[in-house]
């Protein structure tokens, strides 16, 4: 079959099962867009900015487990995807980002809309390709999807010169990849598993610290089986929310800077820390030398480079979280009973230091999150932007199911949540998708309201509007003596009017007793997005708070 490079690209994407592409056209991808014009099997979603396209593909990937695909032109189109690629890279999200490149005879001449995309994206991709020959397209696509979705997932960039999109080739899609330098280890070494099992069986105060790797691996069930068999409490990172049901009696919920007090105390007191698919990020550990000071460490991760990167590990296991937890559950024998004293201690902490906030006549942002959880019966996909609202969403959403939490953890990208919610809604047309936002973040990718309206996506955007860049303001209040430098957003535009101008619905809520009604009303709107502007208490702080550089047990509880 003779095809142009652009046709070969689309055929290759079909072979990989791609149904959706988020993108934005331009000069060097015209041949690809010309193929998409007639294409039936793949739907192209035109966003209003390439950053929006990349985050949408990311939200689609996180909420479905499939590879997200986006498409942009060369130069500024490609550089606009950078924040999205870096976001996906930090959180190990499988993306294939296709960019056009100027024709091969123009590369290296500072041509119009030329940028060295493989050079720029090299430190923020799992791998990248510059394709100069049409013949290479099928192999490169095959490899790119394989690399993106296997091992520790991540974004892969394919930068395709325009002439390679036009040239005709004989199309044949390869059956398998040939990558001698890429062989992820899925099964943990039996000797290491044995050593870990022994350590677990004699531990008196064990804690499981589970991260996003459990969700990537599809290992939530295995995590639950493991924890229940051995009666070990589980704390999750923000990326791991949904990997373990937060209403479970063994749930310690989130740990770290804004984690629960009982999770942080449990970490500081435990004698064995079992880290699974987590990477000891500074927002989790606080002051590293005093993190889990009494514990031996078992670290399970598919990425060998994560093991020993930040902390010394007693038993490292390189392997897929799902497989390794399964093997470990089979191997381990609880010789130490059910850690009754330890569980009792944790239950005391839970009673003494629950997550809490003071109610008054203003709308408390935590209350809005609780109400969202209540009216959706915990079944919504919760996307967030980055800031205080994100932490309240993490603390109060009580997530129980994997892939229902879509939030930028590692890079902390403001403006991520709304386009990600678009991707999540496309990937899950029957689910309720919320973007819990702040008034700062929502203004960073507001233009995607057009995308959501055109496609009649019933996304609910709950803006916790405190007229501040709240998280920065909180740090300024607590660490910079209330010098609110450039964090006051009192000149915010009327967000409801903006939403309405795009054709979305909008509801403004100013009193606590209107919150639930407004949410119920929003849930009934099914043919367009709805923005709910909650005028929340302005100087509310996120607690607990471990000040930067301090130990977890030195947290401020309120």
């Amino acid at each position: 079959m003779e095809l142009t490079g652009a046709q070969a690209l689309i055929e290759s994407l079909k072979k990989e099962g791609v149904e959706l592409i988020f993108g934005y056209p331009g000069g060097t991808v015209l041949p690809i867009y010309d193929v998409l014009y007639k294409e039936k099997a793949i739907k192209h979603i035109l966003t209003r900015h390439e950053q929006g396209a990349t985050h949408a593909a990311d939200g689609y990937a996180r909420s479905t487990g499939k590879v997200g695909v986006c498409l942009a032109t060369s130069g500024p189109g490609a550089t606009n995807t950078i924040t999205g690629i870096a976001t996906a890279f930090m959180d190990s999200v499988p993306l294939v980002v296709i960019t056009g490149q100027v024709a091969t005879n123009l590369i290296g001449r500072d041509s119009f809309q030329e940028a060295d995309v493989t050079g720029i994206t090299q430190p923020i991709t799992k791998h990248n390709y510059l394709v100069k020959r049409a013949e290479d397209i099928p192999t490169v696509v095959k490899e790119a999807f394989h690399i993106a979705r296997t091992g520790r997932p991540g974004p892969v960039v394919i930068d395709i010169a325009k002439d390679a999109q036009v040239k005709k080739i004989k199309f044949k899609y390869p059956d398998k990849v040939n990558l001698p330098g890429y062989k992820p280890t899925l099964k943990g070494h039996p000797r290491q598993i044995k050593a870990a099992a022994k350590m677990i069986s004699i531990a008196k105060k064990p804690v499981i610290y589970a991260g996003g790797g459990v969700i990537s691996a599809g290992g939530a069930k295995e995590l639950k089986d493991f924890a229940e068999k051995l009666n070990i409490p589980v704390t999750t990172t923000m990326m791991g929310l949904g990997a373990f049901p937060e209403d479970h009696k063994l749930a310690l919920r989130m740990l770290g800077m804004h984690g629960t007090a009982y999770a942080n105390y449990a970490i500081q007191e435990c004698d064995l820390l079992i880290a699974v698919g987590a990477r000891f990020d500074d927002r989790v550990t606080g002051h590293l030398p005093t993190f889990a000071p009494k514990a031996k460490h078992i670290h399970i991760d598919i990425d060998p480079a994560e093991i020993g990167k930040n902390v010394r590990v007693d038993v490292p296991i390189v392997g897929d979280a799902k497989q390794t937890l399964k093997d470990l559950t089979e191997k381990v024998k609880p010789e130490n009973g059910k850690h009754d004293a330890w569980i009792k201690q944790i239950d005391e902490w839970k009673d003494k230091y629950p997550l809490k906030y003071k109610k008054d006549k203003r709308i408390k942002p935590q209350y809005v999150v609780e109400m969202i959880q209540q009216v959706t019966k915990g079944k919504a996909i919760i996307c967030t932007e980055v800031g205080q609202h994100q932490m309240w969403a993490a603390q109060y959403s009580k997530l129980t199911v994997p892939r229902t939490w879509v939030s930028s953890g590692g890079l902390g990208t403001m403006g991520y949540g709304f386009p990600a919610a678009i991707g999540a809604q496309f990937g899950n047309p029957d689910k309720i998708v919320f973007d819990i936002a702040g008034d700062g973040s929502i203004q960073m990718n507001m233009q995607e309201m057009a995308t959501a309206v055109i496609h009649k996506l019933p996304i609910k955007i709950a803006v916790l509007n405190n007229c501040f860049l709240g998280m920065v303001r909180q740090w300024q209040e607590l660490l910079y003596d209330k010098r609110y430098s450039s964090t006051n957003l009192c000149n915010n535009p009327d967000l409801c009017k903006i939403a309405e101008a795009y054709g979305a619905a909008a509801i403004r809520v100013t009193k606590p007793d209107e919150v639930k009604n407004a949410l119920e009303k929003a849930l009934k709107i099914k043919d367009r997005p709805v923005l709910i502007d909650f005028a929340v208490a302005k100087e509310e702080n996120v607690f607990p708070f471990v000040p930067p550089g301090q130990a977890l047990n030195e947290m401020l509880i309120d």
Binding site: Q122, K126, G181, A305
Partner: protein, 158 residues
């Protein structure tokens, strides 16, 4: 501590950028770097001399392995490796000093590769210290130009 790291890579565009970029990002200073093909035409060997603590080195080796085009990485301890560096040294030499210079050349088992009226160009291939010693001895004659390759190394025996 100084380390000699051998990185076997697929001979693909951008691979040197990937490898060297990792070193700078992780705070490892590259002292020398040599790249060349191997017995297999599609495989290259990058030899890097760099300084840093052992934990950073371990992290770099792991990060190097994560690169798709990297096939193998070795940290070569000095006592198990054959190490060589090549230098070309153009040194000032006239009728009076030429003989003295050639004596030094002989001492180091180096050779003269170009003779001009007022200079000699010397090729020396040796371990790094030897190259440096020779350079020191030649300095008093006046070195006009000098170029050194980075270190290359292979593990001894099987």
């Amino acid at each position: 501590m100084k380390h000699t790291i051998s990185v076997i890579v697929e001979n693909k565009p951008g691979v040197l950028h990937r490898v060297s970029g990792l070193f700078s990002r992780r705070g490892f200073n590259i002292e020398s770097l040599a790249v060349g093909t191997t017995e297999k035409p599609d495989v290259s060997r990058i030899t890097i001399v760099a300084e840093g603590d052992d934990q950073t080195l371990e992290q770099i080796i792991k990060q190097l392995y994560k690169q798709i085009d990297v096939l193998k990485v070795f940290d070569l301890p000095a006592d198990q490796a054959i190490e060589r560096e090549l230098a070309l040294i153009k040194v000032h030499a006239n009728d009076k000093t030429r003989q003295e210079v050639t004596q030094i050349v002989d001492m180091f088992q180096a050779r003269v590769v170009d003779v001009a009226e007022d200079s000699l160009t010397i090729e020396v291939s040796a371990e790094k210290d030897k190259v440096e010693n020779m350079q020191k001895l030649l300095e008093k004659f006046g070195i006009q130009e000098l170029v050194r390759t980075g270190k290359i190394a292979l593990q001894r025996g099987g």
